[in-house]
């Protein structure tokens, strides 16, 4: 049931030309993240290894790979679905978990610096709020669902 | 017994100008509807029930509607053409099936 999520037909067409990895920005920063390698690993039955690893969480979903793949493989989609599979089996990246905490606490993904608030004051805007009950509610609902 | 064209089976004789049913109809009643590309009978009342159209249709798309006085809803009369014979299947209102085969005299 799990593997139905990934379109194996198209996946088999990949012959590792490497164009996806060549144009991948995350790969530029972290060479261990190689989309073409990930596709290959699915094909040789290393799905578990991928789902427990960090790699699949590094994709920024910029779609460059999918746009340029000569075989028309929706690489981004596959990465996305790998994440879904990982999540279903209760795994997630530490990075994401940390981000979730920040989001809950502050209602933002990044810290608000005093400079931001000063600029807002000058423009006549209220300071940035801390925390958000709305975000908490959203999390509660989606947590209950999954 | 006016002819009824089954739309799914009729292919307009592949879009030629005169479909076979039109060519064979003695009363010049069958023709192609230019909008749908399917055959239809232009004047059901004038049909003499010769069933030539039914016999010649290569897709078997034409059926005869038997008037209720003769056979009511359940009745059917279906011809199947051979090169020198024709086989009729008759189904009456009680659903009884009978078949009759005849030689035709249409050798060259």
């Amino acid at each position: 049931m799990d593997s139905e999520l990934i379109d194996r037909e198209k996946l088999k067409c990949c012959h590792h030309c490497g164009k996806c990895s060549s144009g991948c920005e995350p790969n530029r920063l972290d060479p261990s993240f190689q989309p073409h390698q990930i596709l290959h690993l699915i094909g040789v039955g290393a799905l578990d290894e991928l789902l427990t690893g960090d790699a699949i969480w590094k994709c920024t979903t910029c779609f460059t790979c999918s746009e340029r793949c000569p075989q028309g493989i929706a690489v981004t989609d596959i990465l996305w679905r790998l994440r879904a599979l990982a999540f279903r089996s209760g795994r997630t990246s530490e990075l994401l978990a940390a981000q979730k905490d920040v989001l809950l606490k502050t209602g933002r993904l990044y810290a608000a610096s005093p400079l931001d608030n000063k600029k807002r004051e000058k423009a006549g805007l209220p300071p940035l709020p801390e925390g958000s009950s709305l975000v908490a509610r959203i999390f509660k609902v989606s947590d209950e669902d999954e | 017994m006016p002819p009824y064209v089954v739309k799914d089976k009729c292919d307009g004789c592949k879009g030629k100008e005169e479909p076979l049913c039109e060519q064979i109809c003695i009363g010049d009643l069958m023709t192609l509807n230019p909008d749908t590309g399917k055959a239809y009978c232009r004047s059901l009342r004038d049909c003499w029930d010769c069933m030539s159209c039914t016999k010649i249709c290569p897709k078997g798309a034409i059926e005869q509607r038997i008037p209720y006085q003769l056979g009511y809803h359940g009745a059917k009369l279906i011809p199947m053409m051979g090169t020198d014979s024709i086989t009729w299947t008759c189904v009456d209102i009680n659903g009884k099936v009978e078949r009759f085969s005849f030689r035709t005299r249409n050798k060259k």
Partner: protein, 703 residues
Amino acid sequence: MSDEGKIGVYLCACEGEIEKVIALDSLVREASAWPGVTTVRKDSSLCSERGIRTIREEVKKLGLDRVLIAACSASLKMKEFSDLGINKYLVERVNIREQCSRVHSDNPENATKKAGAMLGIFLEKARRSKALEPVTVPAVKTALVVGGGVAGINAALDIAGTDAEVFLVEKKPVLGGNVAEFHRYFPRMCPPSCGLELLLSRIESAPRIHVLTSSEISALSGSPGNFSVTIKAASTGVTNLNEQDRVSTVKAGAVILATGWEPYDPTPLTEYGYGRLDHVITNVEFEKRARERKEFLREVRSTAFIQCVGSRDERHLPYCSDVCCMVSIKQALSLKEADSEHDVRIFYNDIRTPGEYEELYRQARKSGITFIKGIPSELRQEAPGKIAVSVFDTVAGRRTENTVDRVVLATGMRSSQGNSGLNAKIGIVLNKNNFIESHLQCHPQDTQRAGIFSAGCCRAPMDVSRSIESAGSAAIKALQFLKGEITVSPDYPVVNILKCDHCKRCMEECPFKAYSLDEKQFPKVDITKCRACGICMGSCPLGAISLGELSIEQLSGMLDVLDKSYLGDDEPVILGFLCKNDAYRAADDAGLKGVSYPPNLISIMVPCSGAVNGMIISEAISKGVDGILIAGCPDDQCHYVQGSALAKTRLADVSNKLKEMYIEPERVRFVNISRDETEKFAETVKEYVAELKKLGRNPLRIQ
């Protein structure tokens, strides 16, 4: 049964093999009593010299007008049985070995009954046959070659080596095609000026080759042996600005299409910046510039080649363009030859250098050319005159940044745009990649139009070597039509205009477009284009078309005469129509492979499963046959393109009709049988007999 005739029936014991299973003596007795049979005899070996002599003598002595040979399959001993002193269309072969004694050896009684039934129906077929002679049509000894590139030039020279004339038509003002503008050929790295010039000078001096440059085909009509081609020559308009294009008509016996290829424009692959970035060129441009000026090879110090640009790509050219790997290696070697310090990097997906071209690949590696397995995602202008190529090296497992002076995009090959235009004018069939479609793997030079052949890259991406070979094969095929006359076997179809109702289904369904309308709007077949597949015979709703060796009347008579209970009252009888290319031959193999099936099936060989007419099937059912089995080639392997697919449609129509008539639609069935699927055939028959036994006998049987 029709009029009597004087028929000789000959049963072969096949050196005892057939007689071990089939009681030939009882068949002799039975057949002697049949009307029209003048003599019946059995022989130990009909195909022996003595056997043939005996038949020949009896034909003469007894004045026989039909001969029935009950022996092995008709595909065997054809030579022996072709010379019996009687027109070969009056000789009927009955297959009592491969399809009777060999497969029903477990039940000799039933085998004999089946042989008797087979004799009966083929006797009726023989009664209705007519003597036919081959037809000879005068033909023109001129060939037309369209396209003056490498393939076209070679085809023209090959044909002019015989006594035929050749018209070589080229759209551009000069001959030589794409290759004339190139720097080097691989694998020997020779300049085109060498070989090509030799060929061009031979063309010039050949008295029978007429070259028409700046000319194009504007129309083509007629038939093989007698094509009529209209050629439009572009006006030069130099002296007279109002000069019209000159139009001329040429008669040709055969046409060879050699319209070639065009480079694929890589502009849509915007990530490579072709047209936007300086110093990004295509492989074709590299060739042209290298040829134009020697300095080109030394203008820069570093070059990157990117392979598979546009090829093997779903969004552009889905196929592999065959030559680009070799081209890039060739160009890289040229750069190294000019300057051994030149930094050459080839970014590839796979390197395809088949056969002995591998040597060139090895040479390239040895010369210091860097090969990196990884395709760059994009190119960036790093500085004036410098292109940044960032690639993930899949073998090293890490990214590599490259800065080069020039990037060569190994762009692919697409069929010349002229192909699509030609398609409209000539009606040849193109495949989904716009190359000329032959449909038969074993005849790559054919198009689906008789007398018209293809050579070179208009057929598929290929290099110069293969183009020349393909031109040769097209020329050989074309020569069959350039002998001054064409002899056509009388198997072609004949239209009975008394029955024809102008529905034109025959015209539409003919895969080779061999039909046209005559003055009275009746369909007329061009016998030189016809391949006698019989699909027209199968398509006619009125049964107005018959083939030379199998007519509707014959089939109808066979259905009358068939003993529908030849195995007894409880056993169903199946009539099989097996296509001669695959299914019939597969069935013939059964005995040798030790495979057997029940004797309830009698098969009739048809040229193509598409030749079976729906009316005949209906008639068979109404005359009491319990089941009909049509066996044809697998759909995409049908020798006549669409026969099997059409047969399935026709059967579906009959099936529907049967349903309406409260007859079981399972009484007609289609199966795809490939040449070696004998076991599948036997299984199908076994299964079918079992099913029909369950359904019971045909309700129409009692007549």
